[in-house]
Symmetry: C2
Subunit: 158 residues, 2 copies
């Protein structure tokens, strides 16, 4: 394929690499988990992490009174976990049912099977375009196993 | 190596994958470029991108009156470019000297040799811990060549 032809099909923002994450949001009354790629560190000391929630997602309803979230870093081979959390909606089902979890310090359920997790206390929220961003300070985090983080590849989710 | 022993050496936040980027900041009087990993999308429509600048970096001085930035996505094989922009300081040298560039719509120089770039107008800035975050709306962006984005690997920068 000629370089120009392929380049025309791609969008620059799609070239920004990311991992694949399950983000769990907790409010005083609800919990939901969704598949995410737009997760980033924003401070080294203290450790602070940012997630983003699309305004069409059920999880977006939880962002206003969300007090804690957990970022679960998936490892290579966990593409099917991402598909489960990405293709189903918390409006229709408890997406965490059937997954082994343990409670974090805030009570939020944390997936036993993931590379690493960071449980965060929400300290900031802001809308940008069609997403709401939450920034949290890590209050409980752990690497759970050996392995390499899963890097997002569009082809895995077709 | 036992799993536990290795797990103890790793920090959960280090397991969050990222690409490798050169971020160029432009103020009315200064331009500087630095190597970054903490770059993320925050809105699909309009396209908005976030970068973060460590408060010990020279670039941090530019964040207050920075009106535009460019995120240049590096591709596989460009580790030495990241090392150049990561190990030198704009306090001591013009890090862009010797690199082929072309001017963006804001006049900021854009590296000719990178996978893709997004030139953004700054719409938001906020300090989190030891970093300042800038969010920009993309005003000029392009995929420049075929290839795969470089994913950050600690070993490449020892």
């Amino acid at each position: 394929m000629p370089i120009q032809e392929q380049a025309d099909e791609r969008r620059p923002e799609w070239e920004i690499p990311s991992g694949v994450f399950i983000v769990t949001l907790r409010t005083p009354t609800r919990v939901n988990a969704y598949a995410a790629g737009w997760v980033v560190r924003v401070s080294e000391e203290p450790v602070m992490i940012q997630v983003a929630v699309w305004d069409q997602n059920y999880s977006h309803e939880l962002t206003e009174d969300c007090d804690h979230f957990v970022v679960q870093v998936l490892q290579e081979g966990q593409e099917s976990v991402a598909r489960h959390f990405g293709r189903n909606s918390g409006r229709d089902m408890d997406k965490l049912a059937g997954f082994k979890t343990h409670p974090g310090v805030s009570g939020v359920p944390i997936l036993d099977d993931c590379l690493a997790y960071l449980e965060c206390e929400v300290v900031f929220r802001q809308t940008f375009g069609d997403h709401k961003v939450l920034v949290g300070r890590a209050v409980n985090s752990r690497v759970q196993c050996e392995g390499c983080a899963l890097v997002y590849d569009y082809e895995d989710y077709q």
